[in-house]
Amino acid sequence: MIESRFADIGWMDALSGRDTPLRRIDPRAKLLATLGFILAVLSFPKYEVAGLLPFFLYPVVLMSIGDVPVAFVLRRLAVVAPFAVFVGMFNPLLDRQVVAGVGPWVMTGGWLSFASILLRFALTVGATLVVVAGTGIHDVCRGLGALGVPAAFTAQVLFLYRYLFVLVDDGMRMARARALRSFGGRGMGMRVYGHMLGSLLLRTMGRAERIHLAMRCRGFDGQVRTLTRLRFGFADALFLLGWSTAFVLLRCFDLPRRVGGWILGAGT
């Protein structure tokens, strides 16, 4: 199960390596627009359902200009969904006020807010995954740096990401080696675990020393320097402004009810 998480990270990494229109947009524009999106979605009242639906436009459009497979996003959503379901589940149990009823079926406030939680969840997680898959960790960090996040932190994230694969491989090999030699649960206990983790830790620290040596050899003085600079162009500004406006409008004007009211009105 955990291993599949890392398979997915590799997947996303591969996705973010391709040259797509989404990829070419300045990471700052993407990050800020996404943050605005999340704020807009979460600022809806807790029983809002219909008003959230138009917001699917954002992840869906990004998915298509970023060539991010729908199946990938859905699968990730399914993996993390249980948590939202777990916490949201209590709403129908605790809030039994009847909001509306059609024949024998009644809708309680709890179910409404539960549905709202699930929608918020799908929207925020979906948008984040799509943007990250269409940007890549490297550009995300450059964007964060350009937005004023301290270099010590962005460098740290990149370092972590760089060695994630190497060390996870190490950990996985160790886990496998133990599993092959433990029988009937013996060998899976705390003692062996402590030793394994301890030696993995020592190996990791040895690696840190060697990396430090390599950095020192090339003139490292405590500061990680990079060459690449970002350029915030017209298209990026347009992206950011366009989406921000859209979010504000969608938040303030109740599009679904207007459309629905108009259609129902025309029908009668």
Binding site: L35, I38, L39, L42, P45, V49, L53, F56, L57, V60, V61, S64, D67, L77, V80, G88, L94, V99, G110, L112, S113, I117, R120, T124, V125, T128, V132, I137, V140, V149, P150, F153, Q156, V157, F159, L160, Y163, V166, G171, M174, A175, G189, M190, Y193, L197, G198, L200, L201, L202, M205, A208, I211, H212, P256, R258, V259, G260, G261, I263, L264
Partner: protein, 344 residues
């Protein structure tokens, strides 16, 4: 105990972002000021180590379930508070971005809940004093367990506070607290034992590694971050608690808070609410949706329904329109994709 975007309000998320961003800035300055540049790669690989360590688990005796390392306290012991805080923040960032554990807005909450308490409370105020000047395996085990439990209890309490302040989940304060604290007591004990086992192993094999942290004593010993942090925590926790104590959960503010989650916390509730209602009134076709209940309650705080009193007409309109806009969104996406594929 990652919080998810879907369960928090913008005000809570934003507030915790500010707190965590401030801490990150502070720690980044601390780490840069420290002359030991060995820590740069060490922090990086130890962050990755936390992921790797989670590939290995162990069976918890007598329960049939298995556990693994969380890592916050271990990082604090190995790196000292500031560097550990940055490392934990980076781990959570990668989890939020790539695994969708938590979310972008909830990241501030998660960094605070899972980073601040182990680094600036449990490690300096609990672990260090308990371990003392000359550690031995027994002391390490006791100190790590107590510290991990305290750190996680505080973190779990913050989760409860943040969730309730956000008002998205329906769980009442008491019940949620009774759910979270015992679970995290168990998790804390396991985390403490695991941390103790690993630290004990390292202490036996290469004691000089653990001195790394002593070499960085100016950082670890600096009381200012701890004080500042405690102040922040106290304000967050205390403010939330007194708010809960003074407010009947069904009262006006509670309802307002839940309905007008976008409003500023500091602004007088009536002002924020009034302005929002005004906007709604002037812009919405069916002006009484959404704020009707709150507006009614302004006159009568005892009135029960907190949810909007929806009439069937509005909700049908909403559903029809919502379905259509949803379809339109997917259609636009599909068309864009078609066009791109046609061009390629």
């Amino acid at each position: 105990m990652h919080m998810a975007d879907a369960l928090i309000s913008p005000a809570v998320g934003g507030g915790m972002w500010v707190a965590s961003a401030g801490l990150i800035g502070y720690c980044a300055r601390k780490v840069r000021a420290c002359l030991d540049d060995r820590r740069v790669p060490l922090m990086g690989v130890l962050g990755a180590f936390v992921f790797a360590a989670q590939m290995i688990n162990f069976s918890i005796p007598g329960t049939g379930s298995s556990g693994h390392l969380g890592g916050g306290l271990l990082l604090a012991i190995l790196l000292g508070p500031s560097a550990a805080f940055l490392t934990i923040a980076s781990v959570l960032t990668v989890q939020a971005l790539f695994f969708a554990d938590g979310g972008l807005l909830a990241l501030g909450c998660n960094i605070f809940n899972l980073g601040f308490f182990p680094c600036f409370v449990a490690y300096p105020l609990v672990y260090r004093p308990l371990v003392g000047r000359d550690p031995n395996p027994g002391r390490i085990a006791v100190a790590a367990t107590v510290a991990a439990v305290i750190g996680l209890q505080m973190g779990a309490f913050c989760v409860v506070m943040e969730t309730l302040l956000s008002g998205v989940s329906e769980l009442p304060f008491g019940k949620f607290l009774l759910l979270m604290q015992p679970i995290h007591l168990a998790i804390g004990v396991v985390e403490g034992l695991v941390t103790a086992a690993v630290v004990g192993f390292v202490w036996k094999a290469r004691p000089e590694v653990l001195d790394l942290d002593r070499a960085m004593a100016p950082d670890a010993g600096g009381l200012r971050p701890v004080l500042i942090g405690l102040l922040v925590a106290a304000v967050v926790v205390g403010g939330g608690l007194s708010w809960f104590a003074s407010t009947h959960p069904d009262g006006l503010e509670w309802a307002m808070f839940r309905t007008a989650g976008a409003g500023e916390l500091e602004a007088p509730a009536d002002g924020a609410h009034g302005a929002l209602a005004q906007v709604q009134e002037t812009t919405a076709l069916m002006p009484d949706y959404g704020f009707k209940a709150a507006a009614a309650e302004e006159g009568d705080a005892e009135q029960q329904p907190v949810w909007p009193a929806v009439d069937t007409g509005t909700s049908v309109a909403g559903l029809v329109g919502g379905g259509l806009t949803l379809a339109a969104a997917f259609l636009i996406g599909w068309l864009l994709k078609r066009r791109r594929q046609a061009k390629a």
